[in-house]
């Protein structure tokens, strides 16, 4: 019955409930964007560290010349202190329905990269032909689908290897984020953000073999992932490489990549936090002022309720609880709105991804703001006796 009295008040006070619902909608979508922003910025460095790439040295050969690449590879491999050099391979997959660029990871360091998945699971490192597809392909395929496709080199550098082979691949999962280690774009101030790039229609394939059981070859990447020997530091290797390779300014230690990434993104992250702080304070002031005003302006009404037979606490709650209802309502609308944005592109750049973890954190954040904004005057009102209002002389 008391709950229905609160509901009655929500109905009576519909205008302020609507305003607060809108307010809550805005706060929730903003908080959601902030959380997503922070997650996106920290995502690459998380992937980098979790897969141990921060301990490697990267060399991106700049010329488009395969014999040159092979001789550079030999030079790097023979350098003292280099334990291992890994390259991935690139080819294209196509069937009558779809096509996709396949980045083939065969070696241990590459197979230890853990991209966030939207669906499915990581491919089996010792299995063959398991692919992680970009999320768009979710519309066409399901996890576990076996697809027969033809495979050919990504481009026709090796004339003798242009033959097309039939392969059967299995969908292991779908990538949440389009940024993968495939086609680094080269800059002098190269950072993590340039190492992982968003390339359309690019999937990650482990250990590709054709239907006859032969290892399928693709074009070798010009990115070399170099593991130093245990007693060599990545900086020693880095410095030694700079002296001997042709594209000198494209040798990078993993540490330097992370460092430059944070130099680039510190300001962005700082801005996000500054905006979040501003929004938090703004919402707190709105809520504090709103709660205070409604408790003051309805004090008379509350005292009449008290006189008519409900405890004072319930009187205060009947005024304050509609605010939490508005929070819930605004939150739900915001999440539904964001959910419906899945897959739409804004400015060709931001794909709106919807994640339940963001939803939870958003709710926690906004609920905390509402509590801090509403509780002080709620508590002080409950403590104040309504009886003084009936003492007139």
């Amino acid at each position: 019955m008391f709950d229905s009295f609160v509901l009655r008040n929500i109905r009576r006070d519909w205008l302020s409930t609507i305003i607060l619902t809108l307010f809550s909608f805005v706060i929730c979508t903003t908080a959601y964007q902030f959380i997503r922003g922070v997650d996106r910025i920290t995502y690459l460095s998380r992937v980098f560290f979790e897969s141990g790439l921060n301990e490697k040295v990267f060399y991106i050969y700049q010329e488009d010349d395969v014999p040159g690449l092979m001789s550079e590879l030999a030079v790097v491999q023979n350098l003292e202190g280099v334990k291992d050099v890994e390259q991935y391979r690139i080819g294209s997959l196509s069937s009558d329905k779809v096509s996709c660029t396949a980045v083939i990871y065969d070696t241990p360091s590459l197979k230890s990269i853990r991209y966030d998945l939207a669906k499915g699971s990581q491919p089996n490192p010792s299995g063959t032909n398991e692919i992680l597809l970009p999320i768009e392909y979710d519309l066409i395929f399901d996890v576990g689908d076996e697809i027969t496709m033809s495979f050919s080199n990504f481009d026709l550098v090796f004339d003798n290897l242009t033959e097309v082979r039939t392969v059967q691949i299995r969908v292991a999962g779908f990538l949440k984020d389009p940024n993968v280690l495939a086609f680094p774009t080269s800059y002098a101030k190269f950072s993590l953000g340039h190492l992982f790039t968003a390339t359309p229609n690019t999937g990650i394939l482990y250990n590709l073999v054709d239907i006859d059981g032969n290892k399928a070859i693709g074009e070798l990447s010009s990115t070399l992932v170099i593991t130093p020997e245990d007693n060599y530091s990545q900086n020693e290797i880095n410095d030694a490489l700079v002296d001997i390779v042709r594209s000198k300014s494209y040798v990078h230690s993993g540490e330097a990549l992370v460092e430059r990434y944070w130099v680039e993104n510190d300001k962005v992250l700082f801005d996000i936090f500054a905006d979040a702080l501003a929004v938090t304070f703004l919402s707190l002031s709105v809520l504090l002022a709103g709660t205070y005003l409604s408790l003051i302006s309805r004090r008379k009404e509350m005292s009449v309720w008290y006189l008519s037979g409900i405890p004072w606490k319930n009187c205060v709650q009947a005024v304050v609880f509609p605010k939490f209802f508005a929070l819930l309502f605004g939150f739900s609308c915001a999440m539904i709105w964001l959910y419906r944005q899945i897959g739409t592109e804004i400015n060709y750049m931001i794909d709106v991804s919807f994640r339940w973890s963001y939803v939870l954190i958003t709710f926690g954040f906004v609920a905390a703001v509402f509590l801090v904004g509403v509780l002080p005057f709620y508590v002080s009102s409950i403590r104040k006796s309504p009886v003084e209002l009936f003492r007139k002389d």
Partner: protein
């Protein structure tokens, strides 16, 4: 007449923990019989309202003992106090204690809502009572568009709607002119004649005259009682 309400050695102290504690009531003894009409007079600040608030379960007393059909602890829970206010007491206040921007109907309806009376019954009871009090035409009107006398009639309807046995009135005519004062007093008198117990706080000797018994409070103690009969 049987004992209905009995106060013994009732004290009310505000801010007992602080230095500036106020003794609003000091040792009040009072017996009220069912169906009685009592007037309480006294200068401003003498504790009249405080006494009425304790009788009406608006506030706890600090010390003493209270009997209201049964023994009443000074630690009664907020919910039990609310239930007593809702079921047993009707309040008539000097400032009417109505929600100004709501209609008379909505104001009168409140005690019924809190008593969980179904909507249809609420409507019937309000209709019957408003006819009796002559405020049927006012039901849809907002309280802030009414005259003082009209407001007090609506307030009386709100006080009576749950059919309480005890009516507590704190300066019910204090904000009214002479003519409306007489109308309202006649109404209160007729309620008394129907058998309700009434305690009325007033400055006005004319109003006090109507009571069966007058009490005078001075500085938190009852000085003397005048029995009319």
């Amino acid at each position: 007449m049987t004992t209905y309400i009995e106060l013994k050695g009732i004290r009310k102290t505000y801010h007992p923990a602080r230095k500036v504690s106020v003794e609003a009531l000091r040792s009040v003894d009072l017996e009220i019989k069912k169906g009685e009409m009592i007037a309480i007079t006294g200068v401003s600040g003498s504790g009249k309202s405080t006494l009425l608030h304790i009788l009406g379960f608006l506030e706890h007393y600090s010390e003493g003992s209270m009997f209201f059909e049964t023994a009443i602890s000074h630690k009664l829970s907020a919910t039990e106090m609310a239930k007593m206010r809702n079921q047993k007491i009707g309040f008539i206040m000097q400032d009417f204690a109505l929600i100004p921007y709501r209609s008379a109907y909505e104001n009168i309806e409140l005690p019924l809502i809190f008593a969980k009376v179904p909507r249809k019954d609420r409507r019937n009871r309000i209709r019957v009572l408003s006819e009796k009090l002559g405020i049927k035409d006012l039901l849809r009107r907002k309280v802030n568009q009414m005259s003082g006398g009209q407001k007090q009639r609506v307030a009386i309807a709100r006080a009576l709607i749950n059919d309480p046995e005890l009516i507590l009135a704190d300066e019910p005519t204090g904000a009214l002119d002479r003519k409306t004062k007489h109308d309202v007093m006649a109404l209160i008198k007729s309620i008394h004649e129907e058998g309700k117990t009434i305690v009325i706080v007033t400055h006005d000797p004319e109003v006090a005259e109507l009571a069966d018994r007058q009490l005078h409070i001075d500085d938190g103690t009852i000085e003397y009682g005048v029995c009319k009969l």
